[in-house]
């Protein structure tokens, strides 16, 4: 079975808020000093899900696709090191400053071009923009069913058996192939590549495609094709300063807190 994993490298979302800066002129995040970008956490988990299916189904193959420039190349390297077989880098200035729709359009075109893909695994949302759209939009572009927010996915039944996280429980679903699955943190931890795997990754094939290779016109992708326009990116304003309870003992602090809450009519 041929599974595609879509991966994205992003500024580390664990960047402490104190180090988080936005350039208001460009509406872009200023990369924090000394904090390296990371593979979007949910994409790493999607890669883990794909690799487990590959390992359980002999003759299977995992291809990682990423859209962008240097950051995309790093995302591909990471997933190849985890165990994916090949990479596809969608690298074209025309792809820049797009939205979920244009990103999915390009990724779907690449998946179509590969020809024999049976499943696409994505993270449930990119941990930078948190939109949660690309996986579903790829499914719409390809005309495939999609199962989102998966905590487990295995082959079986109609094609794939997926357990999905709903608000107050878990849904068991089955989908025929080909299908898109988006994976959530409840799935578990992704494997950490060891040095031999990282070195082996350097020898794996990474193909580069531009808009023309995908049969796309520049007007369909990037800023030209985007349907949502980012007008402003800002940091939320903070409230008033915290009032810390004084006291020599936890008992004194606790008493002070409850007294304060009563005095302020919170309780």
């Amino acid at each position: 079975m041929h599974i595609v994993v879509c991966a994205k490298q992003i500024p580390d979302p664990e960047t402490p808020p104190s180090a988080f800066r936005i350039d208001a002129a460009t509406n872009k995040v200023v990369p924090a000093q000394g904090i390296a970008p990371v593979l979007s956490q949910f994409d790493g988990i999607a890669a883990e899900a794909a690799l487990r299916i590959k390992e359980a189904n002999a003759g299977s193959k995992v291809t990682v696709i990423s859209l962008g420039a240097d950051s995309a190349a790093a995302a591909i390297k990471q997933v190849l090191a985890m165990g994916a077989d090949e990479g596809v880098l969608l690298n074209d200035p025309a792809f820049e400053d797009g939205d979920s729709y244009t990103t999915a359009k390009a990724l779907a075109a690449a998946i179509k071009k590969l020809g024999d893909v049976e499943a696409v695994f994505c993270g449930r949302q990119a941990a930078d923009w948190d939109m949660g759209q690309v996986g579903l939009l790829i499914a719409e572009e390809l005309g495939w069913p999609a199962s989102i927010i998966a905590k487990s996915v295995t082959t079986g039944g109609a094609g794939l058996q997926v357990q999905r996280v709903l608000a107050d429980g878990f849904e068991n679903a089955e989908t025929p192939l080909p299908a898109v699955v988006t994976v959530s943190n409840e799935f578990g931890e992704p494997r950490y590549p060891k040095l031999p795997q990282i070195m082996a990754a350097a020898k794996k094939t990474v193909t580069q495609w531009k808009t023309g290779d995908l049969g796309l016109d520049p007007s369909q992708v990037g800023a030209a094709g985007a349907r949502l326009k980012l007008e402003r990116l800002a940091t939320p304003t903070r409230g008033a300063k915290v009032e810390l309870m004084e006291g020599d003992t936890p008992q004194a602090q606790a008493a002070a807190l409850v007294a304060r809450l009563r005095a302020d009519k919170i309780l």
């Binding site: 988080f20 579903l136 199962s147 068991n172 949502l228 807190l257 409850v258």
Partner: protein
């Protein structure tokens, strides 16, 4: 400039959900004389139309097949509603179903959706939608280059609409086929007060150090009163298996807006705060005096929860 607005509603127990009523209220504020309508799919839809406060028209189908959400069944019915209502804006709840409907419906209608919006305003005639990004570290505001504009909206972004519901109902088609099969459901939520409804939420985080730490969290909630307080958990705690995902508070968990949110041993990562910043009062207990939570809490105690929480339990028991 009059704006027709269609709200994709949801039913629970044969009634429009609270978020449906919130979106209807939001629609009323943006319609500026245009028509507000609602879609209701599933058992009791026709009867529920009268409770869809503020909607002029309800597009309905009572087919019980719609009760279990499968996107491939809902989407054609929603498309039929859009064909008739011809909205300028579609509002969808940011719910388990809504987060699937948004992107798929927008694609089928050759437009785009802004997800998990906390506000939608008219700025000089143009709609602007604002939503958290970068795990809650940032707020992103978007305009729409295509029509209709679509947005999934976070619960409690608007107050609930009140007043009369739809006077007209229009039938939608019954459910068709779905390639995806739903084969089962396992509820994971505990009995009693739900965190989305509780006036007080007490949450534990990674700093508890172990699953056993949640016993103290539960005891504190009980001391406050099980009719008032429910227990939540940070994503880190849930990922460690210390508490069920249904109790996770955060950007990828539940977003709660209680009167009081007590964060115990939670550092205050932005993605957690995105889930609880709607609380009227945020109280924190953390032994790290530099934790990010202090930038957002109103009251706090710097100390080890293992000592502080038992002391708080005693204080609450004194009543």
């Amino acid at each position: 400039m009059a704006r027709n607005i269609l709200v994709v509603g949801e039913l629970s127990g044969g009634q429009p959900t609270p978020t449906t009523l919130e979106l209807l209220n939001g629609a009323a504020g943006l319609a500026a004389g245009g028509v507000v309508s609602v879609t209701l799919l599933g058992t009791g839809a026709t009867a529920a139309a009268a409770a869809a406060a503020g909607a002029a028209t309800a597009y309905v189908n009572d087919d019980a097949t719609y009760d279990t959400f499968r996107a491939e069944q809902w989407l054609p019915a929603l498309g039929a509603a859009l064909d008739q209502a011809n909205p300028d804006l579609v509002l969808i709840p940011q719910s388990a179903s809504g987060r699937e409907i948004g992107p798929r419906l927008s694609h089928r209608r050759n437009t785009a959706v802004a997800m998990d919006c906390i506000s939608i305003v008219d700025e000089g005639g143009a709609l602007k939608a604002t939503r958290p990004a970068y795990g809650g570290n940032a707020l992103a505001t978007y305009s729409f280059a295509t029509a209709p504009a679509m947005a999934t909206v976070r619960s409690k972004s608007f107050d609930r609409a009140t007043g009369p519901g739809a006077s007209t109902t229009v039938p939608l088609p019954a459910a068709g086929e779905s390639r995806t099969l739903v084969t089962g459901y396992e509820a994971s939520v505990s009995e009693g007060l739900q965190i989305q409804d509780a006036p007080v939420v007490v949450s534990g985080g990674r700093g508890l150090g172990s699953a056993e730490g949640f016993q103290l969290i539960e005891a504190l909630a009980a001391a406050i009163g099980t009719d008032k307080a429910a227990v939540g958990a940070s994503r880190a705690a849930v990922d460690l298996g210390w508490y069920p995902p249904s109790q996770q508070v955060g950007l990828t968990g539940k977003v709660v807006s209680p009167d009081i949110y007590i964060a115990i041993a939670i550092s205050g990562a932005s993605q957690h705060l995105a889930g609880c910043s709607g609380a009227k009062v945020l109280i924190a207990v953390n032994r790290d005096p530099d934790a990010n939570i202090w930038s957002f809490a109103k009251y706090g105690i710097v100390g080890d929860y293992k000592n502080v929480v038992p002391a708080l339990i005693e204080e609450f028991k004194k009543g």
